[in-house]
């Protein structure tokens, strides 16, 4: 467990006890990646802010349910945010705005996008985010593409298969291999 993860765990325990100061520290630690995720999936800054507020209120009320054996605080918060965003998307009958239609998909240059994000991270203050992002960019393109569609897209595996134009078995294998590689890279760090 990293030092940051231990700090996160202590903070979440304090939050579970009603410590608003610890909650503020947790907000400062998590708000940027959670907001980035919300904005990316919802495609709207206002909705992303509303979603982020909902997520942090849930963190406040459900902090006592956090189980450190299951996941890190960061992972718990990310997955909680993603779940809330998917609920919003499904409730509004919308799909991910940033996912391009199939006809435009082939024109996306993930490497260029990754380089731009890398520049932003370099200029940014979150070194951990930049490091993780660099690891993600090390993944083979087809694996990262499949994982990214699955994570941000709120798509079924059949829809992902259609979008990628690949058999479902191939898609499953790409996602599994991508996650395993990511796990291995993160565990080595």
């Amino acid at each position: 467990m990293s030092e940051q993860q231990e700090i996160d765990r202590q903070n979440i325990r304090r939050v579970a006890g009603g410590d608003q100061e610890a909650f503020a520290e947790l907000y400062d630690r998590l708000s940027s990646p959670l907001y980035s995720l919300a904005h990316r999936m919802l495609g709207d800054a206002g909705e992303a802010q509303d979603a982020l507020q909902d997520v942090f209120l849930q963190i406040w009320s459900r902090a006592a349910k956090y189980d450190s054996k299951q996941s890190s605080v960061f992972s718990w918060a990310i997955l909680l945010t993603r779940s809330r965003i998917i609920d919003r998307l499904r409730a509004r009958g919308r799909r991910l705005r940033v996912i391009l239609p199939p006809s435009d998909r082939d024109e996306v240059d993930f490497s260029i996008a990754s380089e731009a994000e890398g520049v932003a991270d370099t200029a940014g203050r979150n070194e951990e985010a930049a490091h993780v992002r660099s690891i993600l960019h090390e993944l083979p393109g087809e694996q990262r593409e499949a994982i990214e569609l699955a994570f941000f897209g709120d798509l079924t595996h059949h829809e992902i298969s259609e979008r990628l134009g690949q058999p479902l078995g191939t898609v499953k294998a790409r996602i599994r291999r991508g996650l395993l590689r990511l796990r291995d890279r993160l565990q080595r760090e």
């Binding site: 579970a16 006890g17 503020a24 980035s36 995720l37 992972s75 997955l79 994570f151």
Partner: protein, 303 residues
């Protein structure tokens, strides 16, 4: 070693792509398989790192204030850890519960006593109601008898009324009949109170002639009807006379005018009061009559 297909499912599950029965089945397996559970945790943590693929952005500073204010306004979260005073609080709660139970038992006893008393009172009221009902039924029976009696009386009165009505109608009919009979009698004998005098012919020439005189002394008036009387000779008239014991000469009752059929009738009064009339007589006098009888008597009759 976890099969690849199972790893695929775990990867899908970590990304939220597994739903329904498939997801529940995998959750069941994870409960039993620690290796699978560990893989799932690693996949979830790895998937969470994918969030860094989103362009790095920071939320507006105002949102921080909004979120922290919203949390501050909420009711303070009670710690999930048991505080030191918890046993004492539990003991106090237990004591309060016991006291409450004792108090409730007393209340229940009191309520039971009230219920018993209330039941006895209700039973007494029930008995009273039954007696009252019997009384009412008896009164109702008496009322029915009285009503039947009154009904019989009414029927009897109605029958009497009908009978009396019939009798009245019968009496009215009798009265009408009697009045009619009386009228008929009066018509037939208008001088029922009068003295009747049948005059007979005093000569051969008037043998078929008939005359009857009804005389009422009280009224000093009379009525004469003549039939089959031959017409009087020219310049002559028949004249009626009353023979009274108090008068030396007959008292004139007037001149009779016989029609062509030989009949004549008239009401008459005497020229002088006669209280003891013995007979009536018709004589032939000069036309227009005379005050004192002069001509021959052709018909004569006594009462």
């Amino acid at each position: 070693m976890i099969p690849e297909e199972k790893q695929n499912q775990a990867a899908f599950y970590a990304l939220g792509l597994l739903e329904g029965e498939e997801a529940r089945a995998l959750e069941g397996e994870m409960e039993r398989d620690e290796e699978l559970r560990t893989l799932m945790r690693e996949f979830s943590n790895s998937a969470a790192q994918l969030a860094f693929l989103a362009p790095a952005e920071s939320p507006p500073a105002l949102l921080r204030h909004r979120v922290l204010s919203a949390v501050a306004e909420q009711e303070p979260i009670k710690s999930r850890q048991s505080p030191n005073w918890l046993p004492w609080a539990l003991a106090a709660a237990l004591a309060l519960t016991c006291a409450g139970l004792v108090w409730r038992e007393a209340g229940l006893r009191s309520a039971r006593d009230r219920a018993v008393n209330g039941r006895a009172q209700l039973e007494a009221e029930h008995g009273e109601l039954i007696a009252q009902r019997a009384r009412l039924e008896q009164e109702q029976g008496g009322s029915e008898q009285e009503r039947a009696r009154l009904q019989g009386e009414r029927d009897r009165l109605a029958s009497d009324r009908d009978r009396l009505e019939k009798e009245r109608e019968s009496l009215l009919a009798d009265r009408t009949r009697l009045e009619e009979e009386l009228a008929a009698l009066r018509t037939a004998n208008p001088f029922s109170e009068a003295d009747l005098y049948v005059l007979k012919s005093a000569s051969l020439g008037t043998i078929r002639a008939k005359a009857i005189v009804a005389w009422e002394p009280s009224r000093q008036s009379g009525f004469i009807r003549i039939s089959n009387m031959p017409a009087a000779n020219r310049g002559r008239d028949y004249q009626l006379w009353a023979v009274d014991a108090n008068h030396k000469d007959p008292v004139s009752a007037g001149v009779l005018h016989v029609n062509t059929g030989g009949a004549a009738q008239m009401r008459f009064k005497l020229v002088d009061e006669a209280r003891q009339v013995k007979a009536f007589a018709i004589s032939v006098e000069r036309e227009g009559g005379v005050e004192k009888k002069q001509g021959p008597i052709v018909m004569l009759g006594s009462g």
